[in-house]
């Protein structure tokens, strides 16, 4: 077939070179070699597609054609497993991890609301009137041991020598410089 195609190609090439107008060349090409061209196009397309796949496999597995399929399978599997499988897991895990703290935070949010109280308390410290506010807040705090501990811990950060106990007791040495 190549033997038959080659002369025709030569003729076409020669004709293309000989004929000056491009439109005439196009028309000539379509009318003369359409069937053959289609066959050639069809074959290379199949070949190209196959080669493309092969090249993709080859690129991923340079070491051997026989390993390409296995490589592809391995690649495919990890990709699906790693990318699609693991990703959701970390994502879920992350969400789960984030969710837990969020839940904790939400759990602490209750404490946080009490923290707001401590914020108010801090403000109260600045003024004489704060005493009255403080007293009220402290009374509220007494009703919740968890709050006492949490708030007490925050107080510890601003005071040396203070530690908090799980029983809601704040330990502080008696000092003239408190």
């Amino acid at each position: 077939m190549l033997n038959r195609m080659l002369p025709l190609a030569v003729v076409l090439t020669a004709a293309s070179l000989a004929v000056a107008p491009a439109s005439a060349q196009t028309t000539g090409t379509g009318s003369t070699a359409t069937g053959q061209t289609m066959q050639q196009d069809t074959t290379p397309r199949q070949t190209t597609t196959g080669q493309t796949t092969t090249q993709g496999q080859t690129t991923q597995g340079h070491e051997g054609h026989q390993m390409q399929n296995q490589t592809m399978q391995q690649d495919t599997t990890p990709r699906q497993t790693t990318t699609q499988g693991q990703n959701p897991v970390p994502t879920q895990t992350m969400q789960g991890q984030e969710g837990q703290p969020v839940q904790q935070v939400q759990g602490q949010t209750t404490t946080g609301q009490q923290n707001l109280t401590s914020t108010q308390t801090t403000t109260g410290t600045e003024g004489t009137l704060g005493n009255q506010t403080t007293g009220t807040q402290a009374t509220t705090g007494n009703q919740n041991m968890a709050t006492q501990g949490t708030t007490g811990t925050q107080m510890d950060q601003s005071r040396a020598g203070m530690t908090d106990t799980d029983a809601g007791r704040t330990r502080m040495r008696v000092s003239k410089d408190t």
């Binding site: 308390t121 410290t125 704060g130 402290a138 009374t139 006492q148 008696v174 003239k176």
Partner: protein
């Protein structure tokens, strides 16, 4: 730190001239090399040389007329006496015109505290006082203002513990006064003693221990020695050495331990104390 407080004081010639005139200056400078009642181990002039020259007494006269009068009375007074400049935060132990010892001091911080209709002024009052008593290893009895101040600073509510009246806590336990101790009696009957050198704080409440309990007898907070000046005012040492030289106290005059020891050993009960 080369900061021996028991240093020999040399009164600067210029200041001495202002105070005493030429003859007095000669006397002051001469007495500057003299020490009375120097404790064993005193480093002598080497320590003095390591420190910048201490300011002379009466070098700065207070603008306030009443304080200035006290300063003038201190300057004119003869004999041995303590002179304290609240402005310069310094103390001098003098004999006549001679400075026998000088030391930096912490004085009242000048703030006010109000609570329950009461007001405390944390200033060191000026005037003339007398050393009424001296004591070694003094015990500090935290006054009411200590708890009020702590409660305000830390946003605690105040509650006074009373003997025979347990205070119920949020977890169902209770606080009691047993003898001289504060104890927490848990619901299961377990009794936990509150250390005597700790505040009694549960939740957001600061409990004021009654007088006579261990929590109202604190050792170490006044240093190793004290000289009482009456009305609760004292010259005393402190574990808070970094406060020396500042307006940091509730009215007392804090000194470095070495300085208050010197005063304890050399200043007799009955000595005049001029604070201006």
């Amino acid at each position: 730190m080369q900061n021996h407080p028991l240093r020999n004081v040399r009164v600067p010639a210029t200041a001495a001239l202002l105070l005493l005139g030429a003859a007095g200056a000669a006397q002051a400078q001469g007495s500057g090399t003299r020490l009375l009642g120097v404790p064993v181990g005193y480093a002598g002039d080497s320590a003095a040389a390591a420190e910048p020259e201490a300011p002379a007494p009466f070098a700065r006269v207070p603008e306030d007329a009443a304080r200035a009068r006290v300063a003038e009375a201190a300057r004119r007074a003869g004999g041995r006496r303590l002179v304290v400049s609240l402005q310069e935060r310094r103390l001098w132990w003098m004999d006549g015109d001679s400075v026998l010892h000088t030391a930096p001091a912490a004085v009242g911080k000048g703030t006010r505290l109000e609570h329950g209709g009461r007001t405390w002024d944390f200033s060191t009052p000026y005037g003339v006082r007398t050393v009424r008593a001296k004591a070694e290893n003094p015990v500090w009895v935290p006054p009411e203002w200590h708890y009020v101040e702590l409660a305000q600073d830390s946003a605690y509510a105040l509650a006074h513990l009373q003997r025979g009246k347990p205070a119920r806590l949020a977890d169902g336990s209770r606080l009691e006064v047993r003898g001289d101790r504060i104890v927490q009696v848990h619901r299961d009957g377990r009794v936990e003693e509150i250390p005597g050198d700790e505040e009694v704080i549960f939740g957001r409440t600061l409990y004021v221990p009654p007088l006579g309990t261990a929590n109202r007898r604190i050792e170490g907070e006044l240093g190793s020695y004290k000289l009482e000046l009456g009305d609760g005012y004292m010259l005393h040492g402190t574990p808070h050495q970094d406060s020396i030289g500042r307006a940091a106290t509730h009215g007392c005059i804090r000194l470095r331990d070495e300085d208050v020891e010197y005063l304890y050993r050399n200043v007799p009960v009955g000595a005049r104390v001029y604070l201006y």
